[in-house]
């Protein structure tokens, strides 16, 4: 009862070495097997995630969502998948074949690879890298590469333009994401994801760094390419962007990669800021830790779906202005402030937490003051451009 996952692992190793393999090769084989099982379970979980998202979006929009296939429409994605497999993959002429076929693989690989360092339960994780946080960033960079490859190899100018815009968005939003990833690293004293979860024993990091958590969530949603930042495949604008020329299962891989990434954003946020598998009784019963882990991830994922249903899409210039003029300076100031406060209030415990919260509150107030002043100056300029002095009473009634 204490450690079911360790038990299964040891039983498997004993089984394989009983068949005559050396322990080192057996361990390697089991690692490959574990990775394959994890990837398969994730991609199968997408079946239910996608239909759950569609139903939630439907409820937000005051309709039912898919409810024909199976009880409450649960098997809708299975039906979609069967349709996608049956479709002919129309391969356009003049494409660059190896690059064309490799691109969806890289995009899915970049998402599944993140799960290698995430701790599901105490003692149950893929691997314990001491640079886990940076590994997550690096794997995300490979997804960017897959998108360029997809856009370029399609022999289609719109796909190329869509890929350029997508890469501009992804590369830009990596910066606030990496900067705010430094905050849990600083608070835990280590870059390893397992160590960060261990360090949240008494307090979840979202209580010590709410502003950093918010910036991380925004930039992760932008990295994923979900609304309101979904002009990577703005269905109404550039006709699906970089994956125009992909049909059937090749498109299905991009689709699955995007939805799995949305759930992965929830997993990462809950691991880094909400304590991962931590909860009452999780140390003694690892299965309870697994339950907490998925519950927290699903809550954050629900918040991203909520955001998707609530905000309209932003334009590319608004997107880049948001990143370079707002999120990046804010993230830089957060990092500097947290480092200073962390050193000044050096002893752990409530005084450090209060100092960090005070610093965050001061920063948030300063941010709103700056944003308010900027908004007022923009509005004044627009009013003076319109030359409409009679707009003043109407403005105060807004």
């Amino acid at each position: 009862m204490g450690d079911p996952f360790g038990l299964i692992g040891r039983w498997l190793i004993d089984l394989v070495t009983g068949w005559g393999m050396e322990p080192e090769a057996a361990l390697t084989l089991l690692r490959f097997l574990g990775a394959a099982i994890l990837a398969t379970v994730l991609l199968l979980a997408c079946f239910f995630l996608i239909v759950a998202e569609r139903k939630i979006l439907g409820r937000f929009q005051d309709r039912y969502g898919p409810n024909r296939v199976g009880p409450w429409g649960v098997f809708q994605t299975v039906a979609d998948f069967v349709k996608l497999i049956g479709k002919e993959i129309v391969v356009p002429d003049g494409i660059d074949k190896p690059v064309y076929w490799l691109a969806p693989l890289l995009v899915v690989m970049s998402v599944v690879g993140i799960w290698a360092v995430v701790p599901f339960a105490p003692g149950f994780r893929g691997t314990d890298l001491n640079v886990g946080v940076l590994y997550i960033v690096s794997i995300g960079a490979i997804g960017t590469l897959g998108i360029i490859m997809a856009g370029w190899s399609s022999n289609n100018k719109f796909a190329l333009l869509g890929a350029f815009r997508a890469v501009a968005q992804l590369v830009s939003y990596e910066i606030p994401m990496v900067l705010t990833l430094l905050i849990p690293t600083m608070l835990a004293g280590s870059m390893g994801v397992t160590a960060i979860v261990e360090a949240q024993k008494d307090l979840w990091f979202i209580a010590a760094a709410p502003l950093a958590a918010a910036v991380f969530l925004i930039s992760s949603v932008a990295e994923n390419g979900r609304a309101p930042f979904d002009l990577m495949e703005g269905e109404s604008e550039i006709v699906a962007g970089f994956n125009i020329e992909y049909g059937g299962l090749a498109f299905g891989m991009f689709y699955v990669g995007e939805f799995l990434h949305a759930f992965t954003v929830g997993v990462l946020f809950s691991t880094l800021f909400l304590g991962g598998w931590r909860g009452p009784g999780a140390e003694t019963y690892p299965l309870l830790g697994l339950f907490y882990f998925f519950a927290k991830a699903l809550v954050v994922w629900f918040v991203t779906v909520w955001v998707r249903a609530s905000f309209p899409r932003v334009r590319i210039d608004q997107l880049l202005a948001l990143n370079w003029k707002f999120l990046t300076p804010l993230a830089l100031v957060i990092v500097a402030l947290t480092a200073v406060v962390d050193k000044l209030a050096a002893e752990q415990g409530w005084s450090q937490l209060l100092a960090l919260l005070a610093a965050n509150a001061v920063l948030a107030l300063g941010m709103f003051a700056v944003l308010g002043a900027y908004g007022r100056s923009v509005r004044k300029r627009e009013d003076s451009l319109r030359g409409n002095a009679a707009a003043l009473p109407a403005r105060s009634a807004r």
Binding site: E24, L134, S138, A141, I142, L145, M149, M191
Partner: protein, 175 residues
């Protein structure tokens, strides 16, 4: 043959083959993609050498930034979607000869090292990552190169933006 030796041989072979494809491939975008394979191979070799931090920095900086920049540059500097003209100099055989001579010279040099056949020394007990971090901000150790490198990056950032900016005609009109 231990597992690690097999991994090293496979990775080394992949890296070298990808490197050959980088310098020999007629299509430049393919050469850029082979460069990415080669860089990933070097990252795996860093992991074999217990330098995990350098391996992930290699992936983030080289593959995630420099390689994407190279691919963009290749795509933006062509008149049509395909390459035009010969991709290698007519005297490429001379380049091959000089590369081979250079390799022979390097081989002669490194075989004379006393540490040539050395096996791995024991890793220190403490994690090298913390040591790396503290050494970069310690005044008595590597603070100066760290600061100089950051100034260099700032200069490169400003310089690249200034150089790649399109020539603006209305210097006096706009803000």
């Amino acid at each position: 043959m231990t597992v690690l030796q097999i991994v090293f041989l496979v990775t080394g072979l992949v890296t070298l083959l990808a490197g050959v494809m980088v310098v020999a491939s007629p299509k430049l975008v393919h050469a850029a993609l082979w460069l990415i394979v080669s860089l990933a191979g070097v990252a795996v070799l860093f992991v074999l050498l217990n330098a995990n931090f350098l391996a992930v920095v290699q992936v983030v900086v080289y593959i995630g930034a420099i390689a994407i920049l190279v691919i963009f540059a290749v795509m933006l500097t062509r008149r049509v979607m395909a390459d035009s003209g010969p991709t290698h100099n007519p005297t490429w055989w001379l380049a091959l000869l000089s590369a081979l001579v250079l390799f022979g010279g390097l081989l002669a040099l490194i075989t004379q090292l006393p540490a040539f056949g050395a096996t791995e020394a024991a890793l220190p007990a403490a994690d090298s990552l913390t040591d790396l971090g503290t050494s970069l901000v310690d005044v008595n150790r590597y603070l100066l190169p760290f600061e100089v490198a950051s100034v260099l990056l700032l200069a490169a950032l400003i310089g690249a933006m200034a150089v790649a900016r399109p020539a603006s005609e209305d210097e006096e009109g706009g803000a």
